[in-house]
């Protein structure tokens, strides 16, 4: 089938990162993936993406500011006419560095926080990061750039949604993304330690509703995590439909996690033009549209809304990327999700919060003072 027009590009510039979040969306084997594209290659990719119809690029990672050539990369995105948006943890760039990027064409910044509470935030990040993030947020606002705050939610910070909203307001964020952890990669390895209870989620949802009624606040994004919803999420707005992801090594993917699915053949910018990787690569075509769908998706009236959910989740949980997303209550594999919820509840009841397995290492320990 012909490929739809992509609007958005996720440019994973590197998987390197000083933070060690236990829910990192990078693959478990991130350390083996090298930064395979130089600034010239990224610049070419941006121009090709613009030709396909892309208007927006998120410069992300890992930590994109670890790239020494980030200024050139930003300039490349701007030259291609893309809206350049930096997704950062905010611990590695100072105000001067940010101003340099702004002058090169950077438009806006998404800054992650791990929690509103500094001690908890640093524990979740695995490094002392919170104070630096606050300073970086100040630098973004001082340049009058739009600031988006992103916080991944899980059982250890879900009780502080009101405080997180207050933090985002204080920082002058235009938008707050309260992203419930998605259980792939590192988050899946930490699922028992991260999965919240249904009661926690309900309380958090109430707090979000209260915050949305608060005048003058940031726009708040909050979606019930699919482990607790009856229906799967419209993952990436559909496989190979709206968003192109380019991994640090140049592979062109439909989402950040799809390379984990065994047996799919994706294109790489080191060998092929972006147009082929997006439109023709067998892996990209595999789950595009509806032809791949099994029952109950195939005849489901909601298939045009959720696109059958998440292929990576189907692969990770059910061992079959072509299965209905187990998060869907109509999936024959839905018992896996129900069991995971019960196991997390039981583990917490028996032994309290399980230790976090931080990205790249052993169990969590408090950060150095």
């Amino acid at each position: 089938m012909s490929a739809p027009r992509p609007y958005n590009l996720v440019a994973e510039l590197t998987y390197r990162c000083p933070l060690r979040c236990a829910y990192c969306s990078n693959p478990l084997g991130y350390a083996q993936v090298r930064d395979g594209l130089d600034a010239a290659a990224w610049t070419r990719a941006f121009a090709e993406a613009a030709e396909l119809g892309v208007v927006h690029v998120g410069l992300t990672g890992g930590e994109p500011t670890l790239r020494a050539d980030l200024r050139e990369i930003v300039a490349g995105a701007d030259a291609a006419g893309l809206y350049a948006h930096l997704v950062t943890a905010g611990t590695t760039l100072d105000a001067e560095g940010l101003a340099t990027l702004r002058d090169a064409g950077l438009r806006s910044v998404q800054l992650s926080f791990q929690d509103s509470d500094p001690v908890s935030g640093d524990t979740i990040a695995g490094v002392a990061a919170h104070a630096r993030k606050l300073a970086f947020a100040g630098a973004v606002r001082a340049l009058d750039m739009p600031l988006v705050v992103n916080v991944v939610l899980h059982r250890r910070n879900l009780g502080r949604v009101a405080e997180i909203v207050a933090l985002a307001r204080e920082l002058g964020a235009t938008r707050l993304e309260l992203a419930n952890a998605q259980y792939h990669g590192w988050a899946l390895a930490n699922r028992e330690a991260l999965l919240p209870s249904r009661e926690q989620l309900a309380r958090a949802a109430t707090e979000v509703e209260r915050a949305r009624r608060l005048p003058g606040g940031p726009e708040i994004l909050f979606v019930l995590p699919d482990y607790f919803a009856d229906r799967p999420k419209p993952c990436m707005g559909g496989w190979g439909r709206r968003t192109i992801v380019i991994a640090p090594d140049g592979r062109v993917l439909p989402c950040q996690a799809a390379a984990e699915i065994a047996g799919l053949e994706f294109g790489s910018l080191r060998e092929r033009p972006l147009a082929w990787c997006w439109s023709e690569a067998p892996g990209m075509q595999r789950f595009r549209g509806e032809a791949w769908m099994p029952e109950p998706c195939r005849s489901c009236p909601e298939r045009g809304r959720d696109f059958g959910g998440c292929r990576c989740q189907a692969f990770a949980l059910a061992g079959d990327a072509a299965a209905t997303d187990p998060a869907c209550s109509l999936s024959p594999h839905h018992g896996l999700v129900v069991a995971a919820r019960a196991a997390a509840e039981a583990a917490v009841a028996a032994a309290g919060d399980a230790p976090l397995r931080l990205r790249g290492g052993a169990a969590a320990r408090p950060p150095e003072p």
Binding site: V55, G81, Y83, H85, S108, V148, R210, R213
Partner: protein
């Protein structure tokens, strides 16, 4: 009993934090910093809110099977609509309109109500329509703050807006007496009928929702006099693959048609939204509804972050 007084404290805290006495427009009004035109826009638009109140109270009456409740509540409709003997709040508001120099018939005709104001007020009526008696009464508890704000307002008008004929203030004066009594009645009802935490949550949420509605009303009034400029966060660009212009923002892209582009071209940070809407209405005098559409469009563009509205200096 302790649970009930806990609810009262929570409701009062909601008002302390979210009632529109904190809205920048009201703050400027009470500090004497509104221009005559801003004050007129407020009076004209707030009249639409006044017209919705008896409708809202009619809906509340229809939710109750208790004659004694209805007998007490119905006085609110009389307060607003008046009786054979006495002018009601709506009539007094129209006198205020005349006192600030507006054409009474024009205000009464509602033809120049801002779309953002209309939406907010209609949301309130719809909210009451679709919720039960307890929740609806809780939403009306913004009256708790009304007595105080009316007093502040009278003082501000007498001190800063002396060009307004004093007989125009009769509405405010009347409300300083009515609102505290209404508030006490509503609060007593909520405390007596909220049984348990779920009911209390509903009451708190309803009052928050109502505060949000009042806030939005003033947002719309304020935006009419703000001078919008295309935000530095928005990147306007053509789209070789589709019609119109794209306004790209950190998290979304908005597609604008030719008319939208025409409106944005006038957003230079010097003209007010009202000037832009009037200019375009004059330019397209053959088309109906242009003035309202432009105001609605600019309000939406500000919400999405495409334009940033600087309040008047």
């Amino acid at each position: 009993m302790s649970a009930a007084s806990g609810l009262e404290a929570r409701l009062r805290r909601v008002l302390d934090e979210r009632y529109h006495h904190r809205h920048p427009f009201n703050v400027r009004m009470h500090e004497g910093r509104l221009t005559p035109d801003e004050l007129r826009t407020w009076v004209r638009n707030r009249y639409y809110y006044q017209t919705r109140i008896p409708i809202k109270d009619g809906l509340i009456l229809a939710k109750s099977g208790d004659p004694s409740f209805r007998r007490r509540w119905v006085h609110r409709i009389h307060d607003h609509d008046g009786t054979a003997q006495q002018a009601g709040g709506l009539e007094l508001w129209l006198r205020l309109a005349a006192a600030v120099g507006l054409d009474r018939a024009e205000v009464e005709g509602l033809g120049r109500v801002l779309p953002g104001v209309r939406d907010a007020c209609d949301d309130y009526v719809r909210f009451v329509e679709s919720h039960d008696l307890l929740t609806s009464v809780a939403a009306s508890l913004t009256e708790i703050g009304a007595g105080e704000i009316m007093k502040t307002r009278i003082e501000a008008f007498e001190r800063y807006y002396r060009w307004v004929e004093p007989e125009g203030l009769a509405y405010f004066l009347g409300r300083t007496r009515q609102a505290p009594a209404d508030a006490a009645e509503g609060m007593a009802f909520a405390l007596a009928h909220a049984k348990g935490p779920e009911d209390e949550e509903r009451c708190v949420a309803a009052l928050e929702r109502k505060c949000e509605i009042l806030w939005r009303l003033l947002d719309a009034v304020e935006a009419a006099h703000a001078r919008p400029a295309v935000s530095s966060a928005a990147k306007l660009r053509g789209d070789p693959m589709g019609p119109g212009t794209l306004a790209v923002l950190p998290e979304r892209a908005v597609r604008l048609n030719e008319t939208g582009r025409e409106v944005l071209a006038l957003c230079d940070g010097r003209r007010s939204a009202e000037q832009i809407a009037s200019a375009l209405a004059a330019r397209h005098a053959d088309a109906a509804g242009v003035w309202s559409e432009v105001h609605g469009f600019l309000f939406e563009m500000a919400r999405l972050g495409v334009v940033r509205a600087a309040p008047p200096s």
